[in-house]
Symmetry: C2
Subunit: 318 residues, 2 copies
Amino acid sequence: MIYAGIDIGGTTIKSGLMDGDSGKLLADMSCPFPHARGVTGTAEDIRRSVDSLCAEIGIPAASLGGIGVCVPGSISPDMSMVLDAYNLGFHNAPLKAEVEKLFPDQTVTLGNDADIAAMAELNNGVFTGHKTAILLTLGTGLGGGIILNGRIFRGGNGNGVEPGHFVVDMHGDLVCTCGSRGCAETLCAATWLVNQGRELVRRNPDGLLARYAEGDPDKVNARMVIDCAREKDPDAEKVFDTYLESLSTVIASLIALFDPEVIGIGGGVSGAGEFLLAPLRQRVKEKNFFKKEYEIVRAEHGNTAGMIGAATLAKVGY
Amino acid sequence: MIYAGIDIGGTTIKSGLMDGDSGKLLADMSCPFPHARGVTGTAEDIRRSVDSLCAEIGIPAASLGGIGVCVPGSISPDMSMVLDAYNLGFHNAPLKAEVEKLFPDQTVTLGNDADIAAMAELNNGVFTGHKTAILLTLGTGLGGGIILNGRIFRGGNGNGVEPGHFVVDMHGDLVCTCGSRGCAETLCAATWLVNQGRELVRRNPDGLLARYAEGDPDKVNARMVIDCAREKDPDAEKVFDTYLESLSTVIASLIALFDPEVIGIGGGVSGAGEFLLAPLRQRVKEKNFFKKEYEIVRAEHGNTAGMIGAATLAKVGY
């Protein structure tokens, strides 16, 4: 059976068809996210994309096993509405019904992007075979998906959970977009590295990072900061060390509460690979309550996590 | 059916017989914890206590529906061994087998005290009817039990979880007994209030709290600090305000991760009742990611939580 997985983001809609047996994408494409045309326009663009992909691999859309759709936002407990997806401008949007209107033969399943990324890892990735796992996606924000008993944990009230928004530094300087001081996100999102890097370029315009960024603080990205640390630039090493300290504290805290079998790291920062993961494992081992070594691995699915996870959602449900 | 619930602590063993239908204790007693006689002596004292209680209510011990035993420590994933209970001096102790040896007709079930207190609330208390709940026991330490899907959550590896040991103040001054800086326990256990109160007595020997404690910092307890705040002593009010700030941050963080239906507060500090709970609810509402008002209630079972929870464990299992 073939399943469609749709990953809606603030700039593009990515659509893919996944083979249910292998968990591999057979075809995929993307189109711009239609900000001006709202939920209805989004449903229309999904229909058009799925039709193109089905034509490409030579199957009728009616033969699909289901359609999964993931959004960067909160989903109602009954999984029919997008409650709030700020980047999309969706609020109480009946996305399931709108897409189903255009696919009368299909069931459409909605999911939150962080949950969906964890689902992709669960069904065909680094969480496969595990019952308890936590995925932390280190990008602009800190997203996360929690797997308990082999299923996505959506919190006690079905509103999803927010692993980026527990507080680790309540007396710190950084106030989160959610209004709280010292959320995990303020210290562990890629954004923290970028902000520290910008500061570094301003403070040391002749330094290595300033050369990478051509002297322009606005050109700094997290990758550059990590690469400078790799090259043993002392300033960048210090920034990276502080980042590791925060991230290992966050993970040790999650271990106290969940004691997961495995922890996956995704998002842009995970591109640092073992340069990040090896010292992270060591610090987490020292810090966690059980003083145990935990499996901390790079998430397998990068840009395709949303499509694969959404198609998996269509296949297995929540 | 009648169940025995045994609550082993560092100073006493409390034993009770609970009616399975009503969830009420029919008889209970306590005896000193036999430090010198170890696991075998503990099992012997449990047998003697249960025999006395059975004689008291006129039933044979063989008619019991089961025996639950709770300890302040970690239990092996297969629930047969006490891995570490520092206050008892038990390490890798085969407590289940030792007690079963003396009760050949009975099944003995072991549990961790924090889990067991949550179980008491779940089956006959403030968590009854809820599927997701968190109990925080604010005493010498910060213990906690997490209920997910109507059952005790013992972590991904079956080792139990440690809600007192996630970090909320990673750059703070207080180092936890577990070795980490700024664990929830360092800021929210009754011990924090006691330490602040002692400091206050030293700093202001003519103040209200000093009078309560007869000028002796060692006589300060958490209750006195709270009572002085109730009486609007400015120093004590400031301490209590800081405590509320920490506790509400801890609860808001747990909400980001679990979004529970209800939060129970137990332990000595919960004796403050609405003087604690009313402002706590308000601050948690302001701080939590969902900006929702949560049900935060005082745990129903006080000193009997261990016996009732352990007997409930014998009845329903984990």
